[in-house]
Amino acid sequence: MPPLLEVDDLQVHFFIDEGTVRAVDGVSFSLEQGKTLGIVGESGSGKSVIGQAILRIVPSPGQIVNGRILLQVDEKENLQQQTLDLVTIDPRGALARSIRGSDISMIFQEPMNSFSPVHTVGSQIMEALLIHSDVSKAEARNQAIEMLHRVGIPQPENRIDAYPHQLSGGMRQRAMIAMALVCRPRVLIADEPTTALDVTVQAQILALLKELQEEFGMAIIFISHNLGVISDISDDVLVVYFGRVMEQAPVKDIFDYPLHPYTQALLRSVPGIDTPVRTELATIEGTLPDPLAYIVGCPFYGRCTECGGDSVCRDQPYELTKVSPEHFVACPRMCIKL
């Protein structure tokens, strides 16, 4: 049985006047039903572009230049095959539209941007239903109310007729989750959905997502810069840096036995309970490489303090190496031993 979603050697490049930005440069992963994959990285790592590529909504001048995104689909009209390569479909075609929303849907950091301010929340949720499934308007309204209830919005019968600006930040985020999940997608892409929220509301939304995942069985790709949030919600984690996967492992391994110097440095830079207070935190010196540069070897070369960093790190082509059945690291020297 192939995995629900399989991304293989995905490359998304942005062609700008000054050159080529390799925003995503050879990312591969697979996602099983009901599991959550966390993608963590700092700004400029290309983590959001991965989500956009799967939905085929990479903004211009970005293009998917290589790779496959294989999705297991139910039998659709005119479509016999079971596995669909999303890279090959027309991003504006009917097939892509029918996949977006019904098979894969997305939630964003700022829900205000994904709702139209001139329509009620309910009509926008119903629209998704009416497009993707064969239901009557009354039935769609009932389902929308049910969904709003399910995501924890009080008095959904009344709130369904509210405009987005009438809801608070947390409620809007819940409504967006309702809209994303109303057609029961099998993959949900969540791009920094809790970054704009307060800690207490963030905890509510994370708990809600876990609950809904248990109930609906969808797979989640959760993209965030916040290591804590990623550790809270993920089953497996990809650590991305400069468009490449530095380390991939189950969540426990990433946080307890990080093998890549970058992952370790990231974790050390967050003060934790065992960091003595008011002492110096570990930092990562230097800055990201020039986005226009093409780097053959390890993109962390030059900032890595682990083994001094030598020409091997710089010149040996990037490769993700298996160190245990589920743990992959892209460190040319494998300088950290288990």
Binding site: E42, V199, L227, G272, I273, A282, I284, T287
Partner: protein, 344 residues
């Protein structure tokens, strides 16, 4: 500990913003952005001011800087070298000017807080010029000293802000704030626009400068982990009011307010061996325009009782330096960080 050890003392500080309606800007009500906040900071100490968005923490900082005139309350500032104690809350902008060098601020957005038309040299020289502290070679010398203090190269002085990353800009902001040897630095979310690795650099810089120059920080943040790492005392605010004010170790070790406990449990941890017991609160932060009666936190509180919705709990001292605003502080046995399993 003598009284002169206290650098700044805020007493019952209030700021109400009028809500205006209609053509004639009739005042129809008030947003009680800050409603009775008190705390004090000793020389060279760090006080963390924590709360969720809209709790009024930024407004407190701005009032200390003299950007807003308080609706009520006092801000007593001890001027250096045995100078007089002054109430900043009653001072006019003109009276405030000679005090300004002693109190400086750094902002959240390092992209907005540097003038894009000025070189780094001009930016760093500005405080020295406007206060007529130095000119000529002494000015240049001090500017070089400042840029080296924050770990940047002297060659960068000729560059404009666009040439710097977020972390580097924040360093420039710190350098500018340090130019006049302030006694207090108000840091309003100085790292929340930065990546974690850069955030750590700024925190280290701030600690290093504090050790070197012995100044005090008012560190305003929503990030409990960072505040814990950085501060000796913590004020936790909720909808314009102080809910708990205690030394950091006491607050994290044994919180006395249910909101503190819930907030701590909600911080996601990066350690999987800490299985945290999350207290998921109902609802969201109360609206400061129309706060709930009684304790503002009672609609979300898991321990709330009838009295909480009727009577407002007053701030009271329940231990050494430990102040809390809850009816049931003594009755409740709240869990601290260790018991909750949160790894912040």
């Amino acid at each position: 500990m003598s009284a002169s050890d206290i650098l700044i003392e805020v007493k019952n500080l209030k700021k109400y913003f009028p809500i205006q309606k209609g053509v004639f800007k009739k005042v129809v009500g008030h947003v009680k952005a800050v409603d009775g906040v008190s705390f004090s900071i000793r020389q060279g100490e760090t006080l963390g001011l924590v709360g969720e968005s809209g709790c009024g923490k930024t407004t407190v900082g701005r009032m200390i800087m003299g950007a807003y005139r308080p609706t009520g309350g006092e801000i007593w500032f001890q001027t250096p070298d045995g100078g007089p104690r002054l109430n900043l809350a009653e001072m006019t902008p003109a009276q405030m000017r000679p005090i300004r060098p002693h109190i400086q601020m750094i902002f959240q957005d390092p992209f907005a807080s540097l003038n894009p038309r000025m070189t780094v040299r001009e930016i760093l020289a500005e405080p020295l010029i406007v206060n007529k502290v130095a000119k000529g070679a002494a000015l240049e010398g001090r500017v070089r000293e400042l840029i080296e203090l924050v770990g940047l190269k002297v060659q960068y002085l000729t560059r404009y802000p666009h040439a710097f990353s977020g972390g580097q800009r924040q360093r420039i902001c710190v350098a500018r704030a340090m130019a006049l040897y302030p006694r207090l630095l108000v840091a309003d979310e100085p790292t929340s626009a930065l990546d974690v690795s850069v955030q750590a650099q700024i925190v280290n810089l701030a600690l290093e400068i504090q050790n070197k120059m012995g100044l005090a920080y008012l560190f305003i943040s929503h990030d409990l982990g960072l505040v814990r790492h950085f501060s000796q005392k913590i004020v936790l605010m909720y909808v314009g009011k102080v809910v708990e004010y205690a030394p950091a170790a006491n607050l994290f070790g044994k919180p006395r307010h249910p909101y503190t406990e819930a907030l701590m449990s909600n911080v996601p941890s990066v350690r999987s061996d800490f299985v945290s017991h999350k207290i998921i609160l109902k609802g969201e932060t109360a609206d400061p325009i129309n706060p709930p009666p009684g304790c503002a936190f009672h609609p979300r509180c898991v321990y709330a009782q009838d009295v909480c919705s009727r009577e407002e709990p007053l701030l009271r001292e329940i231990g050494p330096d430990h102040v809390v605003a809850c009816h049931f502080s003594e009755a409740l046995d709240l869990n601290g960080c260790d018991a909750l399993g949160c790894a912040i």
